[in-house]
Amino acid sequence: MRTARFLCVMVAAFALAIGFWCHVSLGAVENVVVVNGQPTITTDPATASDWYDTEAMYNLYSPLVYPTPEGSVRPHLATSWQAVGGDLTHWRFVLRQGVKFHSGYEMTADDVAFSMTRFIAMKSGNSGPLGKVTATVIDKYTVDFVLDKPSALFPETLALFFPVEKALVLANIKTSDKYGDFGDYGEDWLATHDAGTGPYMMTLNVPGTRLDTARFVDYFEGWSNEGWGPDEVPIDRVVFIMEADYTSLMTILKGRQMDLEINGGWTLPQLREIQANKTLDLTSCWAQNVTVYMNTKAVPTDDEHFRKAILYAFDYASVVGPWQAFGNGPTGIITPNMAGYVPIEPQPPVQNLVKARQELALSKYANNLKDVKVVYHFCGGLDFEEDVGLQLQADMAKLGVKVEVAGPPWAQFGAECNSAETTPNMTCWLFAPQAFPTHDYYLFSMFAKKGLGWIFESHWYFDDPQIETLLNATRAEADPVKRLAIYTQLQPLIAAHALALYPYQKPTLFAHQSYIAGPKESIPMVGPSENMHNWRINLTLKTQITGQ
């Protein structure tokens, strides 16, 4: 009896709590969009380097030049630029007039020169590929950059250069011996504040947790509704929240606590669930190349015929099949949407065991296949990379070759690729253009001796002088048409060495409420597609959907 009474009290308390929850869960329709990303680590343009920092950069700041969907750059903060002299070490940029910082002050060449000097001096973030750059103010709206080495692609690298407001940064410098007279160069302050010209202003930043922003009405590109529907209006407030397990994300997406998800890590069943939901949409923003490098310095992938056997043995259709409805498709060294794309062997990308056996027979390991083992590593936790490995394991077993599949944690996996000796035979990567949305990223950075190295070149193949010469020529060629011709010429040359398996290209699918529209243009690079100036909200539709 007493037990029953106790249980009744507990049930009543629980019911009261539920009633309270019901009461507090109601909300009102507002011009606010909640975006799930990863936690922004820092918002200092000189130290930001992570994927998620870059997304924040494109909202809080503006780059000097803006990436285009075709893989080039167009004027943005700079209206024009040209190489001074013929050696490509001296570049002059003319700045847009009337661009305002969030503080209301106009941006001038002094701010841009200061930002570049700071960027280079801090030797952090994305400044590495720039080398040493000296900035000089020519007049109020003109700035010169002198490089320590020639670069035809210098303007493209400035898609990750975000000028800061000089006076504001100088006013918030902390005493430190790190950068001489400049103390900490405002690093600590900028990690949680903004001094930018971007479409959104920071209103709150709890690093690693949330970033609140408000629309900057004086944004220099304006907020025109041209090209948008009649009810689609600019978003007034954007709240970036931290990442979570995708089951939780599905819950808050369906519960309309989140409006837009920009990581695109959904599983196949989740994507089908989103597709089936009438108030949710999926938008394909840009594609990433799933790339499986083969270490040319490790047994048995040091043999070109062995590597080609792998390319023919892989069953592309089995891996891509279920995903085709969501846009996954064949790819090559660059993605098919890029100008100058050349399909690579095997064509069409289908399994051909006859050819695989032929190639295997030509390899130096043909007579001792039982003694060799291919080690395939992927980043632990990424199921789609594991699927590729397991498929390969099954396919190679048909040829009598053992494939060991493992997914070490990221730190260990990254460290393995510090040298050819420690890199496994095959390493699977999802390469998203985080740096330059150009052919240079997929070609020079990934195959030249002076490329990005490390995981980006874990094939460790730099032995073809023709490829090296052509890659170097791309960076010295100022004419974009001629440069594209070299890129086209390079792809079959690189593919001939069978340095990588390209299972498919994986589109980044953003899931969102159907009252969210965008992005206006899909740019194959982290950042611009997540620039919320590129998105709109339909408040009429939101009101109808939420029933309020």
Binding site: G128, T209, S248, K254, Q257, Q412, L452
Partner: protein, 354 residues
């Protein structure tokens, strides 16, 4: 002239103070040993801390510069010397992942997890004890059977599975519970004073925010508490059953003392001693093991931070995280020992050397 009871009381106080002092000194040595251990382990596990700090596009020159700045080019003992010197000045170094001082990170993340596990502990104490007492007192009844089944299920089911199930039913299907975060996404958080959302809301006079924050605690805290409710419930039940059969309880019954008085005055106190010991360990355990629940509920806490730093080979943060967990174990165990001394007179006598 002091009475014998006053003399005894004074002696007990002295003994306790000496005992606490000794335990504190021991804890310092334990933490020192722990710091050496984790400092070296962190450096030998695979991963490149310079790369973690500088990102994907860093050049070899930049990486080398960072290695020099972080003293990674020096021998392990020299690196440890620099770290220890920093620690004595309240500087735990800079996190490679967040690029902020580790102390700043800890100050941000620890309160969120502490609030969560305090609430989880409260739930597990109330429900675990209630279940254990009832199951023990009404042993072999239907309630005992149900509580046994619930306990086995609770112990066997991982917290994150419970978290996902609770979220699915209460948030997604029934739309009854808040699903993620410490407060609703659109709600303005109170100014940070303690870092405890409920407390800070009360301090700021935002009573509705405090209530909402409390409701946001329920699902994640309950997810974490389930296993401990089950565990503590079973331990309490065993103690109750054991003590119920003792002569002094029979004597109280023979004297006609009310059942409720027997239970709460004479039975409960000795029966909860084993549970209190386990509770202390559970509390410290949750500090580092709440990460999956924090991930599911988007809880910006310490356990999640700890996992992120480990996966990114964030050296300074890794060492700090392990030290915080070690410190938590040390402090909680000390508090548990003190509590047990007050609950159990035999322990007091033993510590006096009686």
């Amino acid at each position: 002239m002091l009475s014998p009871s006053r003399v005894l009381e004074g002696a007990v106080k002295d003994t306790m103070l000496k005992y606490i002092g000794l335990r504190l000194v021991q804890s310092v040595f334990v933490l020192f040993g722990l710091s050496i251990l984790i400092f070296f382990i962190a450096r030998v596990v695979p991963g490149d801390p310079a790369r973690a700090m500088m990102g994907y596009l860093a050049t070899q020159d930049q990486l080398q510069a960072v290695r020099v700045e972080m003293h990674l080019d020096k021998s392990f003992p020299v690196q440890y010397y620099y770290w220890l010197r920093g620690l004595l000045h309240g500087d735990l170094g800079r996190s490679a992942y967040t690029k902020r001082p580790v102390v700043t990170d800890l100050a941000q993340y620890i309160p969120a997890t502490l609030e969560l596990i305090l609430f989880a502990t409260l739930i597990s104490v109330v429900l675990g004890q209630a279940m254990g007492i009832l199951a023990g007192y009404f042993r072999n009844s239907w309630f005992d059977g149900v509580s046994r089944l619930v306990s086995y299920l609770g112990i066997a089911t991982p917290s994150f599975v419970i978290a996902i199930l609770l979220m699915f039913f209460f948030s997604q299907v029934l739309h009854l519970a808040p699903s993620v975060g410490r407060i609703p996404i659109m709600m303005t958080a109170p100014p940070t004073v303690t870092g405890f959302m409920v407390l800070d809301s009360l301090l700021a006079g935002q009573f509705s925010t405090a209530l909402v924050a409390l409701t946001h605690l329920v699902l994640p805290a309950f997810s974490l508490a389930v296993i401990h409710i089950a565990q503590e419930g079973r331990i309490t039940r065993s103690s109750i059953v054991e003590n119920l059969g003792k002569d002094y309880i029979t004597m109280h019954r023979v004297h006609g003392i009310r059942t409720s008085r027997i239970v709460f005055k004479y039975l409960l106190r000795p029966s909860i001693i084993p549970t209190v010991t386990v509770m202390g360990l559970d509390f410290a355990f949750l500090m580092s093991n709440a990460f999956l629940v924090e991930l599911v509920f988007m809880w910006p806490g310490f356990a999640r931070y700890a996992l992120t730093t480990m996966l990114n080979k964030d050296l300074n943060a890794m060492v700090a995280v392990v030290l915080v967990i070690g410190l938590t174990f040390a402090v909680v165990n000390l508090l548990v020992d003190i509590l047990i001394t007050f609950l159990d007179p035999t322990v007091r006598i033993q510590r006096r050397g009686g």
